[in-house]
């Protein structure tokens, strides 16, 4: 009997999302190898919130068994998810948490993600120094959680002074411009906390300003950047938000549809519906290893990890 799973992705602005979908499809193929017929149907396009709600409606109309969604809003899906549940559909959110009690979240803890970067920076700077933060889209939940994460870490390091925080909308070029402006007005900063693709941009500005050796800044996980990291011997550390989260979520979904029960029910997070996955971290210690995983991949390919079927099974009774 076929298990039908709908994947909804509401934003196609980055390669990370593409890789996320690809890995989820690959995970479905793995199930086929094991004799479980998992069929995915994908909706992936730039849509607004109503557009993504329409994605879910389409899946309900199609009669899928489970829906995995990378949501454009944390709370906007409550009503539609409850409709999905009424229709007997399992709903899993990934990459960004949702408030709906009718869904579970399988992915990383964005707050912990932010905290990991903050922790690395604080330790690298020896607990003191001037720091700036370049954040993503203001008002976006993932961004706000990450910000909360590093802030909580810095609370324990009173000598770390956050001199400015700017938003560069997860856009590499904007991150680069923001860094440029920051370097001009705060020439004496020691550390930079910057998220995802913007890190490549920020580092570009740092290198252009000839301050590569003087500044520690968080990095990112695309092959392009990791190559640069090694070559330029950057003082960097990158928290990994692996594009494999959707694949992990898919594995969990299949097992749940097979009637298995989680050992520890998904009860974590602010909404009490999260199952958090481990967050890998890349720094000078395991940089070479990360580079090895990415060998031969295209430049935009992100370092990834996901629960294998076996690892997922281990989570269940």
């Amino acid at each position: 009997e076929t298990i039908k799973i709908g994947l909804s992705n509401g934003w196609v602005g980055s390669e990370w999302r593409t890789q996320m979908i690809d890995e989820a499809k690959a995970a479905a193929a793995k199930w086929k190898e094991k004799g479980v017929d998992v069929e995915v149907s994908v909706q992936s396009a730039n849509v607004d919130v109503p557009g993504q709600i329409a994605h879910i409606r389409n899946f309900i109309a199609e009669g899928v068994n489970a829906i995995i969604v990378n949501p454009n809003s944390p709370t906007a899906f409550d009503p539609i998810f409850s409709q999905a549940k009424e229709a007997g559909i399992l709903v899993i959110a990934t990459d960004a948490e949702v408030s709906s009690p009718d869904a579970i979240y399988v992915g990383i803890d964005q707050t912990a993600w932010g905290a990991a970067g903050g922790k690395w920076l604080a330790e690298t700077l020896g607990g003191k120094g001037k720091v700036v933060a370049i954040n993503g889209v203001a008002g976006h939940p993932a961004n706000e959680m990450r910000v909360a994460g590093y802030k909580s870490v810095f609370k324990d390091h009173p000598d770390i002074q956050v001199v400015n925080e700017v938003n560069a909308n997860w856009d590499q070029a904007q991150g680069q411009q923001a860094m440029q402006n920051i370097l001009a007005t705060y020439p004496d900063i020691n550390g930079v906390l910057v998220q995802d693709g913007m890190a490549a941009g920020a580092w570009k500005s740092i290198m252009d300003a000839g301050k590569t050796g003087q500044i520690a800044a968080t990095g990112e996980i695309r092959k392009d950047f990791i190559d640069l990291w090694i070559k330029q011997k950057l003082n960097s550390g990158a928290t990994v938000n692996p594009p494999g989260v959707m694949a992990s979520a898919l594995n969990v979904a299949v097992l749940m549809l097979q009637g298995k029960e989680l050992k520890e029910p998904a009860k974590a997070g602010q909404y009490g519906n999260a199952l958090y996955l481990p967050i890998p971290f890349i720094d000078s210690k395991n940089l070479e290893e990360a580079a090895k995983q990415l060998e031969g991949k295209p430049g935009y390919y992100s370092y990834t990890s996901s629960l294998s079927i076996e690892e997922a099974e281990a989570l269940f009774k």
């Binding site: 396009a45 389409n58 109309a61 906007a76 409550d78 408030s99 939940p141």
Partner: protein, 330 residues
Amino acid sequence: MAETATVPSYRRAGGIGRVLERYPFLPALVIVVALLFLNGFFSPNSLSFRALTGLLSTYMALILLSIAQTYVVYAGDIDLSAGAILSLVNVAIVVLMERWGGGAGAVLLALAMGLLLGLVCGLVNGLVVAALRLQAIVATFATSIFFTGLALYILPVAGTPAPALFWRAYGGRFFGVPFVFYILAVLAILLAVLSRTRLVTQLLAVGDDPQAAYQTGLPVVATRVKGYVLCGLFSALAAFCITGDTASGDPLVGGKMTLYSVAAVVLGGSALSGGWGTVVGSLLGALTIALVNSVVFFMGTPSEWQNFVQGLAILLVLMAGVLAGRRGRS
């Protein structure tokens, strides 16, 4: 002195042209019906009463936003801040409802405040564009940044849930009929009433040729301001719908909807240059956008092609809307 005299070439409309002159939204209607048919062909389920109700309740916000946009387009203006107004009203009412306890009274009061907020935003746009005479595209882009900032100030991060009373009513049924159909009915009456007002005729006359309208003695500035106010009010109504459908506040929720609303207006056969159009067309235009998105999926388009096919389909329908609208006018 020369600008005022440019009047379009004189040509008689033929048979089809005449029908289109009367019912400019006809092409949009044909497209919507065709898309519904395609949807049903690829996925019969998607034409079920339940699915159609869902479609309406999800896209009611875009429908209202497109109607909002239509009234400024009537006068030859444009409002790139409509989506930002929607976001602002969305977060404002959600926060107010929560603060006031989420009861029926709180909900109604918050909605009233939401309408007022929409009105004020529209007024700001109107004053900036019509009274200060700034160019509409850039000025409303600037106000959209301002409104978004305000929305972020009110609700820094997406989240606060709307009271269950509110969204359950929006998604619920009364006497066995889904609530959105009541909305649709009220909307139909409202639009019919509005279309008979002097304001709409004046908006269209102003959009046709502002200088001529002024010389005729029409209150051009006041009319354009009223158009923006109407747009603000309908944007607020759109915000109510999105709040009903999403049950939460999100300061960025309307960001992408603005350009869709402009597209919907064009799809409906209205002229962006003003003076010509219908709100029914815009309603159908919004439905077209909704249906294109799902048809592309139900057709089984591979995921990496979905955005492209949608983009292409919308471009083609936009062209069709413009060409048909032109036949109606000439």
